[in-house]
């Protein structure tokens, strides 16, 4: 298993290299940034796996992952990063990386990840899976694009209420009502209140 390491933290790379070699992996190269990583790929035999950090000078991990998934589809990528925010994981998964582990995951997980990816599977650590799950599923678990308040307003518009009447009924200012109306129309790609009523009837939002 030929591994290319791309990270700008020398001390960290040394630690990782040591751990990987101990696990019987061959570290064929070390790149300090994205540009060096891509250059290495052009000059040498393909490594089997790229251990990629996200935060790097000159070219960051996101860009490198993009390029590699376009030009070197065979090359596996495990993101090795300090970022544990779900948005990072989501974005990197979108790019098609094969694994995502945190830098402080420890030797066991590191080896486990490399082995998993080597066998052709994807690897995400326990913590990552948790984050990704929440990041992916929670927004989707909200049933509709329209909020409760927006639905209320659509119904009141269908009832031919004026902005003032709506404002009084919902304890809101006219300005807020107008902003909602504007946002609803933009959200649903509609031009006016008549279109909104038609849409609402079609989708069963009003009776």
């Amino acid at each position: 298993m030929k591994i290319l390491l791309a990270d700008d933290h020398r001390m960290f790379i040394e630690g990782i290299s040591y751990m990987l070699r101990e696990a019987g992996c061959e570290v064929v190269g070390i790149a300090q940034n994205g540009t060096e990583a891509l250059a290495f790929l052009q000059q040498n035999d393909y490594p089997d796996l790229l251990m990629l950090d996200i935060e790097m000078p000159e070219m960051d991990g996101v860009e490198v992952a993009e390029k590699i998934k376009e030009e070197y589809t065979e090359l596996k990528i495990i993101v090795l990063t300090m970022h544990d925010e779900p948005e990072f994981i989501r974005q990197m998964l979108k790019l098609g990386v094969d694994g995502y582990i945190l830098k402080d995951a420890g030797k066991e997980i590191l080896v486990e990840a490399v082995e998993t990816v080597k066998s052709g599977k994807k690897y995400f650590g326990e913590k990552i899976t948790e984050n990704v799950f929440s990041g992916f599923t929670q927004p989707k678990s909200i049933p509709t694009k329209l909020t409760q308040r927006e639905l209320e307003i659509i119904r009141l518009i269908a009832d031919q209420k004026t902005t003032g009447q709506m404002a009084r009924e919902l304890f809101l200012s006219k300005h807020t009502i107008e902003t909602h109306r504007k946002n609803i129309l933009l959200k649903l790609g509609l031009k006016n209140s008549a279109g909104l009523v038609k849409y609402a009837m079609k989708h069963g939002l009003i009776e």
Partner: protein
């Protein structure tokens, strides 16, 4: 100067024929009439003691002799004045002074007249002899009249008229009206003069004052002459003449003859003129009034000269030669030598003619030099005074105008100054505001940069070193506790780094960062969140993204801390020229009127919204949740 009634009676008329010589005549005629009125009031006091009777008798003598023997009249009135002073008879003294000033006025002795008038006026302060005071004012009017101070004259006459009217002194009233008429003749307002004469005549007729009537008629003759109504003039004068004849007032009769002579001369009725002048001459001879005799002779000679009867003129010259030399007034002498030189020229006696001409010019110079020049000078002085007053007024007006202009300019200048100051202050305020905003923006930017740097250092440097350590320790299974400590340190560092500057924002933009923020919030608090992003399409300006992210961060923290809400909706909507962020919660809400007491979080939001030139509106109602809307122009 002596009175010369002959040929001088009609001012306008005489001037046309003889050139000069006129003004005195008219005044004289009028004066005689006035004198008549005044004397009519000099009645001796019925209960007077002996001394009073003596004084009264002197006044009576004066009255009788005034027109016939001026010398005796003068002597009598002087005695009356002296005795009145001696025996302390103020009432008689007043009468005597009035009489004497009257005489002086007649004889054109203005200074002396004024002295007596002033003394009479002084007496007025202590006594109330109204009839006599009316006469005093009348004399004062005559005095001003002679000095050609017509306004003062009319004033005095009006005072006299008022006193007369209040005391039923009809004679005095008629006299004042007559005198005012005289002033109007001088002012050449003949219509006004006629009005006053008519008033005077009406009173005189009602009171059957024959003398008065005759005088007014004479004066009316002057008015008619000047109005060109010569027939009316002749009628008036003849009527006056009849009355004077009936009253045997020979002096006045003589004057009327003279006046008629002048009038007929003007009408070129030489025979009639010659007739009346001869009547005038004969009557004056009877009265032994040399001045009048010579005046008549001059007029007759002028008529003969015009008719070409040089021999008759020569005859008059030789007949009256002595009288002219001895008693002729300057004016008469001047005329006498003028005629004489003309006659001698006709007789080709050039040497004598020249001599006569020189004498004529000499006398003429002296008359003119004495009186006319003084008059002209007086007139000139008055004119100059008027001019000076006028100039002074004009200067005053000019000064006032200049002052106004200066005030106006000053006002404009002050206004402009205030305006400039105002504009400057406004400009400075605006500049200060801009500067303040710029500096806040700069500080905020620097702060964000610093945060980013620290966050990255913590994340990439400290974080990675900790990770390294963790990795190395992970092989030693017995260090479980140390591992836990290390994990919590690592987590803390990550959290601090994230709070300072989330990596998501930098890496993946606002939408991802907000989504991440909401995910974390949901996970850590249980608050249900929704996020709707509409039309954002890619990244915004980096600085704006940071501001908006911080705003959202603050707003979400506010909801978490204060709202007690279960749901939070956040929408980020991009229109073609604006962007709005709407953060809604279903919490307890608050009364927006007490919003100023809101904490630092809201203040930070406001500052950032202002830096983005945006608008913040907060809509809340107790128990109806809160909606915060931020609109940013793009």
């Amino acid at each position: 100067m002596d009175v010369k009634p002959t040929g001088l009676l009609f001012f306008g008329l005489v001037r046309k024929i003889n050139g000069k010589a006129g003004s005195m005549g008219q005044a004289s005629f009028i004066l005689f009439f006035i004198a008549q009125f005044i004397l009519a009031s000099y009645m001796p006091s019925p209960v007077a003691p002996n001394d009073s009777i003596r004084i009264a008798r002197h006044i009576e003598t004066f009255q009788n002799e005034l027109y016939s023997d001026t010398a005796i009249a003068h002597q009598s009135i002087d005695s009356a004045v002296l005795l009145a002073i001696k025996f302390n008879e103020p009432r008689l003294l007043l009468k005597a002074l009035n009489g004497r000033s009257q005489l002086y006025l007649m004889r054109n002795k203005q200074k002396e007249a004024k002295k007596d008038i002033d003394r009479a006026l002084e007496l007025q302060n202590n006594r109330r002899d109204w009839v006599d005071f009316s006469s005093t004012y009348s004399n004062l009017g005559l005095y001003f009249f002679n000095r050609a101070e017509f306004e003062s004259s009319v004033e005095a006459h009006i005072s006299a008229a008022k006193i007369a009217e209040q005391n039923d002194y009809v004679l005095g009233l008629a006299r004042s009206y007559n005198n005012i008429g005289n002033v109007y003749i001088k002012l050449k307002d003949y219509l006004m003069a006629r009005e006053y004469y008519n008033k005077a005549y009406a009173i005189a007729e009602e009171e059957n004052m024959k003398g008065g009537m005759a005088h007014v008629l004479g004066n009316l003759g002057i008015v008619y002459t000047n109005l060109g109504k010569l027939d009316s003039a002749i009628y008036s004068i003849r009527k006056s003449l009849d009355i004077h004849r009936a009253q045997n007032n020979l002096m006045q009769v003589a004057y009327n003859y003279s006046n008629l002579g002048q009038l007929f001369r003007r009408l070129d009725r030489t025979d009639s003129a010659r007739f009346y002048y001869n009547q005038y001459l004969e009557l004056s001879k009877q009265q032994q009034n040399d001045q009048n005799v010579l005046s008549a002779v001059i007029s007759l000679m002028e008529i003969e000269m015009q008719s070409g009867n040089i021999d008759r003129v020569a005859q008059y010259l030789s007949d009256y030669d002595n009288l002219f030399r001895q008693n002729g007034s300057m004016e008469l002498k001047s005329k006498y030598y003028q005629l004489k030189s003309e006659v001698l020229e006709h007789q080709n006696d050039w040497e004598m003619a020249l001599q006569a001409r020189k004498l004529h010019e000499q006398w003429q110079d002296s008359t003119e030099g004495k009186d006319l020049r003084a008059e002209v000078e007086a007139l000139n002085i008055r004119y100059q005074t008027e001019q000076k007053e006028k100039e002074l007024l004009e200067q005053k007006a000019l000064l006032a105008q200049r002052e106004n202009i200066i005030i106006m300019i000053s006002l404009i200048a002050v206004f402009a100054l205030i305006l400039t100051a105002l504009v400057f202050m406004l400009y400075r305020q605006k500049r200060e505001n801009r500067y303040q905003k710029e500096s806040i923006a700069a500080i905020t930017a620097a702060q964000e940069k610093e945060r980013q740097r620290v966050a990255r250092d913590l994340h990439d440097s400290v974080g990675v070193m900790l990770a390294n350590l963790k990795n190395q320790l992970s092989v030693h299974k017995h260090l479980k506790e140390e591992m836990d400590v290390l994990n919590s340190i690592s987590g803390e560092v990550r959290q601090i780094s994230h709070d300072m500057m989330p990596g998501t924002l930098k890496k993946f933009g606002l939408e991802a960062a907000i989504r991440s923020e909401l995910d974390i919030t949901s996970k850590s608090t249980g608050l249900q969140t929704t996020f709707n992003e509409i039309g954002l399409n890619g990244h915004l300006d980096e600085e704006m993204e940071v501001h908006l992210y911080r705003i959202v961060q603050e707003a979400v923290q506010n909801v978490v801390k204060h709202a007690g809400a279960s749901t939070l909706n956040l929408s980020l909507t991009r229109d073609f020229d604006s962007l709005n962020v709407m953060i809604e919660d279903d919490g307890k809400g608050f009364d927006t009127s007490g919003m100023k007491s809101q904490g630092l979080g809201l203040k930070n939001i406001r500052t950032r919204v202002a830096l983005l030139n945006g608008k913040l509106s907060i809509d809340s109602h107790p128990s109806a949740g809160t909606s915060m809307i931020i609109e940013i122009p793009l």
